[in-house]
Symmetry: C2
């Protein structure tokens, strides 16, 4: 096991009808800015519950934070916070709203151009941030129990991440009832996002971390088992609760303790989203299989372990090399089938989300992306072996 530090002070309040507890969690007399997205919270009753819980507080609102929250949108909220001297930010929505809110919290107190927080890796210089609370309405990103955020800038086609211990939400309210009104498209995206988060912390090489491996497999197995229940019966509150807790556990730092990580699926996926507006989760479902194929020899052993323990399609004592190679393909296909069962495509060329212009010359696009990533000077993968050439190979595999 590698040395590690784990510290996660987020208070999780989980369960039905817990939104009313906001009033015990935000200091009295605070001026609160509620942040939200496209307004679905006004249709599904969440907004009303929040406003009722905040009765007595001085409350302002900032709506319209989009999926893959945009720098220019968020700067407007930063200006509002400064002007109104907001004390507390309450994010009501999914991971995009919360990530955007984290950026607002950091940018309000940042001296200089706030975009530097993302481009110049000055997140370590965040010395002060507004306190954040969260009412989560979508199980997916895990942002509700970590200090990370991903922000996009459409004018430059960039999508970048940052983090700070000062950006942990003080509390996150996770009421699975808020997720019942999600579309099957959104529900599927959340499941894929959580699944890939686990994979990026698990599917590397072994440094003798049997507990962490099993904690990862626990999330994978529960997602695989619960996904069809919730897709077939979106009103199943128990299933919604289980998916919600899986998504939180997938990215709160626990399964990352002492292990080797590989975030290359996210790094390449972010570029597809930034350039072409592909949903975050859908980019992951396309990039992940391509990386598995490209990095097969390096990820072989852990992939076989994943197959044995999660899909049970390989006998636990199987050791024959030929049979293991066949088993690899079987587990690969099981994984692809799982994404397809959620209505999520795994090839760019199949995706109905791909704009017309992609079809013209995908290779050219891939060169631009490979160039952009490799110019950041970091090779991807747990062995730091994925550079310009490998990224192009991976993107070609993503295509078809």
């Amino acid at each position: 096991m590698n040395n590690f530090t784990y510290h996660n002070p987020v208070k999780i309040v989980f369960g039905k009808n817990t939104i009313a507890k906001i009033k015990d969690l935000i200091p009295a007399n605070n001026k609160v800015l509620i942040t939200y997205g496209g307004g679905s919270i006004k249709k599904n009753g969440v907004y009303d519950q929040v406003m009722k819980a905040l009765s007595g507080y001085n409350v302002l609102e900032f709506g319209g934070i989009e999926a893959n929250p945009d720098f220019n949108t968020l700067i407007k909220a930063v200006d509002l916070c400064k002007k109104e001297k907001v004390d507390f930010l309450l994010s009501v929505g999914g991971g995009s709203v919360l990530d955007g809110t984290k950026f607002i919290a950091a940018a309000v107190n940042y001296n200089g151009d706030p975009w530097e927080i993302l481009t110049q890796k000055k997140s370590g210089k965040i010395t002060k941030a507004l306190p954040i609370g969260c009412v989560l309405t979508l199980a997916a990103t895990g942002s509700e129990m970590n200090g990370f955020a991903v922000i996009s800038r459409r004018e430059t086609g960039e999508k970048l991440s940052f983090g700070s211990p000062l950006l942990f939400p003080q509390f996150s309210i996770l009421d699975p009832q808020t997720t019942v009104s999600l579309s099957s498209h959104q529900t599927a995206n959340g499941i894929v996002d959580a699944f890939i988060h686990v994979m990026e912390q698990y599917l590397t090489y072994d440094v003798n971390t049997p507990l962490q491996d099993r904690q990862s497999e626990a999330i994978l197995k529960t997602l695989i088992e619960t996904a069809p229940i919730v897709m077939n019966n979106p009103d199943d509150l128990d299933a919604r609760a289980n998916i919600m807790w899986c998504a939180t556990q997938a990215l709160n730092g626990l399964i990352a303790c002492g292990v080797v990580q590989d975030w290359s699926t996210h790094m390449i996926g972010h570029e597809l989203t930034a350039a072409y507006g592909l949903d975050h989760a859908r980019s992951l479902a396309i990039v992940f299989p391509a990386i598995i194929e490209n990095q097969k020899s390096r990820k072989f052993n852990k992939f076989i372990q994943y197959g044995k323990r999660t899909w049970h399609v390989i006998p636990a004592d199987e050791n024959n090399e030929n049979d293991l190679n066949k088993a690899f393909d079987k587990v690969f296909n099981k994984t692809i089938d799982f994404f397809h069962s959620l209505g999520v495509k795994t090839k760019l060329s199949d995706s109905d989300l791909i704009p017309e212009k992609w079809a013209v010359n995908p290779e050219q696009t891939f060169e631009i992306i490979a160039d952009r990533i490799s110019k950041r000077g970091l090779k991807l993968g747990e062995h730091k072996n994925i550079g310009y050439d490998e990224i192009k190979e991976i993107l070609n595999k993503c295509w078809k």
Copy 2:
């Protein structure tokens, strides 16, 4: 899943050679009281590492905190803290030292007789406590990542627990090297303690918590797999690290999220320890099997699940009632064999730790214990069905 709140702000610093980080974790100029036990830390180099890391601080010492820390010992430390105006308590040792340190931290600021904190369940009235740090030297109790403590009072034969969110250690340093010098007796005790902690949060009835179940099974399986490695090769640092992380994860609140718990093994075990000085873990290894036999019908389904997933001695699709009954016995025996493989006895009458006086009239002793527990007015077990009569039955099963 039941509603729950989860909040655990302990910073874990895990790994080899991490004791030196103390200096980044305790505020400069603090007057620090180091608390420890029988002095093994002065033989295995831990004391020297701690003192080196604390160079520059004003440091006091309080040694001699015994296993099952005693009220009268701890009160002396409380007096010292008041007299010397100590700012910070640094526990260097195992769970007993840390539990004792938590009591000191609470009692220093408690108005009234500090024993009330335990007897009158006034722990909710703990409004202030000294900050605590921990250098852990024994993987067992999980106290390093929770706000609970168990304190004994030998003069009255009592052993009681309390807790407060103010008693979370600010940090816990977990260097597996500190556990290498433990005796096999102590190592075995730690493994049993962690194993039973998981069981008390897992082996109840199902409220649809598939992720938490698997997180519990992850710890059980890792303990079962790693125990023989560490017992046969006490110097195996990887195995020591894995046992250490299992013990922490077994009682940091995570696997308790949203599930039904049953702490009857601990409640009855504490009485055996309080009355007769039996090691904590050894009391658990005796009481737990007796409870399983006594509560067989109520715990049957979860016990079968534990057998299927942890011991793999039952086919996953086995449903035949007769076969499941046989399987129950098989899993029961596997569990007993596991304790025996660690050199831990599972019957009081077999135990070489039992004082002469027990053999004379065990039934009378059991009546005293059953009377003491039932007089507290709480029935034990997840169904609250374990009262005076059942406790006597369980204790008789404990005997032979």
